[in-house]
């Protein structure tokens, strides 16, 4: 599948995008400082493992699909591994050396992050989850 198709698939029919809000999830709200992207990410942590997650909000195709791909990659992972995954993605965003194969589908943003402001769109969900894991 082409990168564009993967992004569109996650944008238009993400399995993790749900409108319902339940109380037993921890909410991560993240708002772009440069545009109107606004995501709410809901996660459930158990014994150091992210056992479930979903998201909603109003955001562009890049921020939305990036959030969906992030959740695909971190579900059932240990917090330490999630932090490494986020760090690796951040390195790609900052044009630093990174491990391409570890990013799985998130590699689809490799070129897009160089298009104007879209780096911040792709990184937005990572920014939210990173901050949450650092503070909790």
């Amino acid at each position: 599948m082409e990168n564009r198709e993967i992004i569109l698939k996650h944008y238009t029919s993400s399995p993790y995008k749900k409108d319902e809000v339940t109380n037993d999830y921890q909410k991560i709200e993240v708002q772009s400082s440069t545009c109107v992207d606004h995501l709410n990410i809901y996660i459930k942590l158990k014994d150091g493992v992210l056992v479930d997650g979903y998201f909603n909000g109003e955001a562009c195709s890049i921020a939305t699909s990036s959030c969906s791909i992030l959740l695909t990659n971190v579900l059932n992972k240990r917090v330490e591994d999630i932090k490494k995954f986020i760090a690796n993605f951040e390195k790609m965003c900052n044009d630093e050396p990174f491990v391409e194969e570890d990013l799985q589908e998130a590699i689809v943003f490799k070129d897009i992050i160089h298009q104007g402001n879209r780096k911040s769109c792709a990184f937005l969900p990572y920014q939210g989850l990173k901050k949450f894991l650092e503070e909790n």
């Binding site: 564009r4 992004i7 569109l8 545009c35 109107v36 992207d37 109003e58 955001a59 562009c60 195709s61 890049i62 897009i112 298009q115 104007g116 879209r118 769109c121």
Partner: protein, 398 residues
């Protein structure tokens, strides 16, 4: 018209975000460069020729701003960093002294954040009450709706003369008449209007006016606070320091200079002021009436072309300015903006700093085109052609 005056338009660019900022004509750029190259001294130190020249140019601009908005006195023109600072100063340093707990300020849901947040802050500080004037079905302000909101506690009506998303013009003159009959002050946010149509503060009878230089072909970082002289006399200086004082022998013996210097502490944005002066001369040479008429005509053309496209949802069909807000059905505004950007068409996507507007229009985000006199029918044709095929947008937005 006048495309040849703008270096940015020598490139293949369709710039439709004039509500955010305008492009700069060569004469403004040259005028500012001239200051930096030929007489780059400080103001208010006219002991030598080049500083005297600074004072002349600086004060000449003040006079030009006075004439441009037809203020009565030159002292009523205070230079600020822009409309945001002007509105903050008006709310904080005039009304912060004047208002008391329970006093009411009337605004609307379609105001820009800069005409909302200074009042919210004052509300938290003083216990004043912020009330929202209901808008009519077209999101317009009517004098009747304002009248219904008046109470003996109403002290201020603060409104944009033209709003930045809907683009509606408010009947400021009638609002001032009603307000003054009831001892209410009127603050006019002119950020979206002063650059596009003739403004006459005496005819309107507004008490305060705020606008920015950069939206009217001038430089960034310069703006104007107009206030009636007797009101500015009561304004607390936002900054104290160099340039604005007469003497300061002790905390009890501090004497400030007269208006407007009293409100302009520190080294001002000299290049900005000089650039603004040139921008005003440039606009006056074209003629504000001509600019207004041209924009109206171009807006109607754009509207007529966009209305044909079934997947375009227009938010403000009725409007009095060069602003058109819309969405492409089913596509997030920012994705459309990115798609247009690939073809060097610059439009704004988002909530345009009017976050409360959702309550009125039910639309959180939109695309906005905002026209100026250097835009052309060809610009509109380019935009419309790119928007014509929804599948193409979906195909190319990523």
């Amino acid at each position: 018209m006048n495309i040849e005056d703008f270096p940015m338009l020598k490139e293949d660019l369709v710039y439709l975000d004039n509500g955010a900022t305008s492009l700069k004509p060569q004469c403004v750029i040259d005028k500012m460069t001239e200051y930096y190259e030929k007489y780059s001294a400080n103001a208010h130190r006219g002991d030598y020729d080049i500083s005297f020249k600074v004072d002349q140019e600086y004060e000449k601009t003040r006079e030009e701003v006075r004439r441009f908005i037809n203020a009565r006195f030159k002292e009523e023109i205070v230079f600020t960093s822009g409309a945001t600072e002007s509105l903050n100063w008006i709310a904080t340093y005039f009304f912060g002294k004047y208002l008391e707990a329970g006093d009411e300020v009337l605004i609307t849901n379609s105001e820009h954040a800069s005409n909302v947040l200074p009042w919210f802050r004052l509300s938290n500080k003083l216990g004043i009450v912020i009330k929202f004037i209901p808008l009519d079905d077209n999101h317009y302000v009517t004098v009747e709706n304002i009248e219904k909101m008046l109470s003996p506690k109403t002290k201020v009506i603060a409104l944009a003369s033209i709003t930045n998303v809907i683009g509606d013009a408010r009947p400021i003159k009638e609002i001032c008449k009603l307000a003054h009959e009831n001892n209410i002050f009127v603050v006019m946010d002119g950020a979206q209007s002063v650059a596009h149509q003739k403004t006459d503060v005496q005819d309107l009878d507004v008490d305060f006016l705020a606008f920015s230089g950069h939206k009217m072909c001038g430089p960034t970082g310069i703006g104007v606070l107009y206030g009636k002289k007797e009101l500015l006399e009561e304004m607390e200086p936002p900054n104290v320091g160099g340039g604005m004082n007469e003497s300061f022998d002790s905390p009890q013996e501090v004497y400030y200079k007269d208006l407007p210097t009293r409100l302009e502490a520190g080294t001002p944005n000299i290049a900005g002021v000089i650039g603004l002066g040139e921008a005003i001369r440039y606009l006056e040479n074209i003629g504000m009436e001509k600019i207004h008429e041209y924009e109206k005509k171009l807006r109607n053309y754009a509207l007529q072309e966009l209305l044909v496209l079934p997947h375009i949802d227009l938010i403000n069909i009725e409007s009095d300015s060069g602003i058109i807000a819309f969405n492409v059905d089913g596509i997030f505004s920012q994705d459309v903006a990115y798609y247009l950007n690939k073809y060097k068409v610059c439009v704004r996507a988002g909530n345009h700093c009017a976050k409360n507007l959702k309550a009125e229009t039910g639309v959180q985000n939109s695309l906005r085109i905002s026209l100026y006199f250097y835009n052309t029918e060809e610009d509109i044709d380019n935009l419309v052609e790119l928007l014509r095929n929804k599948d193409k947008i979906l195909e190319e937005m990523i």
